[in-house]
Amino acid sequence: MKLRLARRLFGAYGVLFLVFVYAPIVMIVAFSFNSNPINMMVWSGFTFDWYWTILGYPTELNEDTLYVESTDQLLAAVKNSLIVAAFTTTISTVLGTMTALALFRYRFRAQRFYQGLLYMPMVMPDIVLGIALLVFFVSIGMSLGLYSIIIGHCTFLISYVFVVVSARLAGMDNTLEEASADLGANEWVTFRRVTLPHIAPGVVGGALLAFIISMDDLVITYFIAGVDSTTLPLFIYGMLRRGVKPEINAIATLMLLFTFIIASLGLYLRRRS
């Protein structure tokens, strides 16, 4: 009797937990299809109009509210975010992987200390990192723009890639590389044919993680973005300051969809290897 009650309570707890986590997200997706332009909380019918609105097409709903002039800015922000994410992902994946390989292969003085320094950016408060980067860029006289955002993102995303690739390397048998050399392969061939295939899931995973984090970073980017380098999170933040408009729901839903696609791609690649 007691046991059944306990089991039910546990079940209820599980449901409540999921509601707690996902209700806001489900709501935002639902609201993005609500045709009520005044109050999002009141359902007045299904519509795709908010999506048309953010893409700049005139609809019945936006005739008077008109967000259309900001569509160009939105697309520019998306473009900026994609440029930043693409460069950041490439640079941090290459450097993070190289760092992981170097620390795996060589033993040197103060290795632990060095490793600790690599973990630091992940636990450092974003706001501190953001301010520090801003002060640094200004003091060396570098103008803020996409470059500064890319450099800023790389400073902490290298750490993320490093951690993911290191975990993968830890499970690798050293003798695999020795076997390759023994059979006549030089270092480059050994890396390409033995080491890289082994760590590939980690490299891909680290790259996807870096891409997603770079795409939605707000706090650090806020400090180091220049006037013409508004990214998507900054743009949304700017919109919110002018009031919560239904279009924001549509933008959030699209971002959610995009993230899902990236994550599924990662899972698919991992399963295939």
Binding site: D173, T175, L176, A181, D182, L183, G184, A185, H198
Partner: protein, 377 residues
């Protein structure tokens, strides 16, 4: 070194001169893994490096394959000094203890690896892979991945992969230690056959003396980074150069003492035991006598100057099928194992009960004597 049995046919394939290798121990200080090691192996020879774990045998192998550099000394392969030559340019291949098969490659790609990275054309590659797989008996498993193979099959893939480049010398680092007993035994014989077919030199590392005795043309016994003895299995068994070799290979009891001359020469041990030995050993020397279980039998009824006599109490009589092993203890407390030959005098020993006092005899010309100076300790 002393007792270096005659090498196989032809000039040496690999030579090691005065190899010294030291490691820094994790807790500080240095460990000498190889101490003035010299040896030469010839084409077609099966040579085993034998010794307890930590004796330096794997280090020696890694110095030959090029994964470690010597601190001093030299490795030569086919007469060419290998100092500064990286592993990928040495004409040797290795079968690793863990096999080290590439997990993401199929069997055929694993075996073909050595040909591919050295630029052998595709048609020749296919031919040679098929040939190597046939030699190790793995036809039909070309498309499998390593994790779909049994331990024995993986072992064969590792072997096929290592012989595909036709090395001058094949190094095998305890390749059988992960297999179960039965498989291990059949693989020992197969390896020996394969080595004979290929005609290349195998340098085989093991800590299992039985394995070494079964497979080798010559055995190199290593201890604490030094060579104790190099010789054929028979030489090591019958005439060990040091007490370490005598204890490490085969069963037997060792008695150390001073040689006493006269008409009935003997070794007298510290606790007063007197063991008759062969004639012609200078008196006063410190010697160790090795008594193998099969050298002992029941003492003949009549006194005979050709025999030495020991008295011992039977502790246990263990049945082994074809033979029986008697575990005895001398008055001094030393243990002695006896495997009497069945029939004749031995039958008496077969019927003995634990607690009986046995009169045992050995032909005094038979037991091997080791001079103390050779102990190197």
């Amino acid at each position: 070194m002393r007792d270096a049995g005659s090498p196989g046919s032809g000039s040496p394939v690999a030579e090691v001169f005065d190899a010294v290798k030291r490691f820094t121990a994790p807790e500080g200080g240095t460990v000498t893994a190889l101490d003035q090691v010299s040896l030469a192996v010839s084409a077609g020879e099966f040579v085993t490096l034998l010794g307890p774990s930590g004796c330096g045998k794997t280090t020696l192998l890694r110095c030959i394959s090029g994964f470690e550099d010597l601190d001093s000394g030299e490795v030569r392969i086919d007469g060419t000094p290998m100092t500064g030559v990286p592993a990928q340019h040495r004409p040797v291949n290795t079968v690793f203890q863990t096999y080290a098969l590439f997990p993401h490659l199929r069997v055929e790609a694993n075996v073909a690896y050595g040909l591919e990275v050295t630029g052998v054309p595709r048609r020749e590659r296919v031919e040679r892979v098929a040939q190597a797989l046939e030699q190790v008996g793995l036809q039909g498993l070309e498309r499998r991945k390593p994790d779909q193979l049994s331990g024995g099959q993986r072992q064969r893939v590792a072997l096929a992969r290592a012989i595909i480049n036709r090395p001058a010398l094949l190094l095998l680092d305890e390749p059988l230690s992960a297999l179960d007993r039965n498989l291990r035994h059949s693989m020992q014989l197969e390896l020996k056959t394969l080595q004979h077919e290929l005609g290349i030199c195998f340098l085989f590392v093991t800590h299992d003396q039985e394995e070494a005795l079964t497979m080798s043309d010559r055995i190199v016994v290593l201890n604490h980074g030094r060579i104790e003895q190099i010789g054929t299995p028979e030489q090591l068994y019958h005439t060990p150069a040091t007490t370490f070799v005598a204890e490490f290979i085969g069963d037997g009891a060792l008695f150390s003492g001073t040689v006493e001359g006269g008409p009935d020469p003997a070794i007298v041990t510290g606790d007063g035991l007197r063991l008759t030995i062969r004639d012609g050993v200078p008196a006063g020397r410190r010697m160790t006598m090795l008594l193998r279980p099969e050298q002992l039998d029941a003492a003949p009824a009549a006194a005979d100057p050709a025999f030495g006599i020991v008295e011992a109490t039977l502790e246990q009589s263990v049945f082994y099928g074809a033979t029986r092993q008697l575990v005895c203890r001398l008055a001094s407390g030393a243990a002695l194992t006896v495997t009497p030959s069945p029939g004749g005098e031995g039958d008496r020993l077969y019927r003995a009960e634990p607690g009986d006092l046995l009169r045992l005899a050995y032909r005094r010309a038979e037991p091997h004597l080791i001079e103390e100076a050779h102990d190197g300790g």
